[in-house]
């Protein structure tokens, strides 16, 4: 089996379900089902995930100072899509592979917007596709104007 192993644990599902405020009994117990967006939490198991502080590496958030907005850090999540081939359950391990998808641009009010897709596949130990996810990110070209966002 290829891909980054993502052990789906009952305790992790419980914490995720609490975070989205969902007390559905289906998300509780040793054989809990995973909520529809749970597979995003595979980020915890991605060794290269850039939005997690790691020992001996610079973190861009605040400390003594305010932190540093990284190059292209003005990027935002524009769309997210999931396709479910079967439910995900606690106790199984999924294997995660991510490949780049399409990229395109649009002209927005504040200039050019660069869109890019990332396709993530979650397969079980038999190699069966369980969940496909498509993430669309958008980065404004040039200086971001987040102060206008509110």
């Amino acid at each position: 089996m290829t891909g980054q192993p993502f052990p789906v644990e009952a305790g992790h599902i419980m914490m995720f379900a609490r975070a989205i405020g969902d007390e559905n009994p289906a998300y509780q117990g040793e054989t809990a089902l995973a909520p529809p967006t749970f597979t995003m939490a595979s980020a915890h198991y991605d060794p290269d995930y850039h939005l997690r502080p790691k020992p001996d590496e610079e973190w861009f958030g605040s400390g003594g100072g305010p932190g540093v907005m990284a190059e292209g850090g003005g990027g935002l999540h524009a769309e997210q899509h999931f396709e479910y081939h079967r439910p995900v359950r606690a106790g199984e391990t999924l294997y995660v592979t991510t490949v780049p998808g399409r990229s395109w641009e649009k002209h927005g009010r504040s200039g050019r917007l660069l869109f890019s897709e990332r396709i993530t596949e979650y397969r079980d130990a038999d190699g069966e596709l369980i969940v496909s996810a498509r993430t669309v990110a958008v980065v404004p070209e040039g200086p971001a104007t987040p102060k206008d966002a509110r």
Binding site: M15, M40, A43, S62, Q80
Partner: protein, 140 residues
């Protein structure tokens, strides 16, 4: 849990209050559970001084995760075939969000009857924060 065509009709609408007065702690809770520790969502000083936002805002995926409840409370989490959203506006601490799911059509497929939904979540001012679609397999 399965839903049959006796329980679900085209045009039927369900509404669900997802959160009332979203707290910063909930956003921190989502960061920990999801693994997305982007300081834009949890680090007020970074969000204001380094990134230039008025403050931290919720992960889009927190809003999508909360919005899913309007579907899963209705058809059950095991019935979903597809779920997708566009993030339309940011969700800020203090926001109250309400999700609505509408049955747009019911399709007869080789696997059984599939209900297609449109979705929207709005804040307390009626501004759409996410819109989307979903499909769920009904009891054959």
């Amino acid at each position: 849990m399965t839903v049959s065509t006796d329980d679900i009709k085209v045009g039927e609408v369900r509404e669900c209050v997802l959160v009332d007065d979203l707290k910063r702690t909930r956003i921190v809770q989502y960061a920990g559970a999801s693994g997305d520790f982007n300081p834009l969502h949890t680090d007020e000083r970074f969000a204001v001084e380094a990134a230039g936002y008025p403050g931290v805002f919720a992960h889009g995926m927190l809003t999508m995760g909360m919005t899913g409840r309007v579907l899963t409370d209705w058809v059950g989490p095991e019935a979903l075939l597809r779920y997708g959203v566009r993030f339309r506006a940011q969700v800020w601490p203090g926001d109250t969000l309400t999700a609505t799911a509408t049955v747009e059509s019911i399709e007869d497929t080789p696997d059984g009857l599939v209900a297609h939904f449109s979705l929207r979540s709005v804040n307390q001012d009626g501004v759409e924060v996410v819109t989307g679609t979903a499909s769920a397999l009904l009891e054959p």
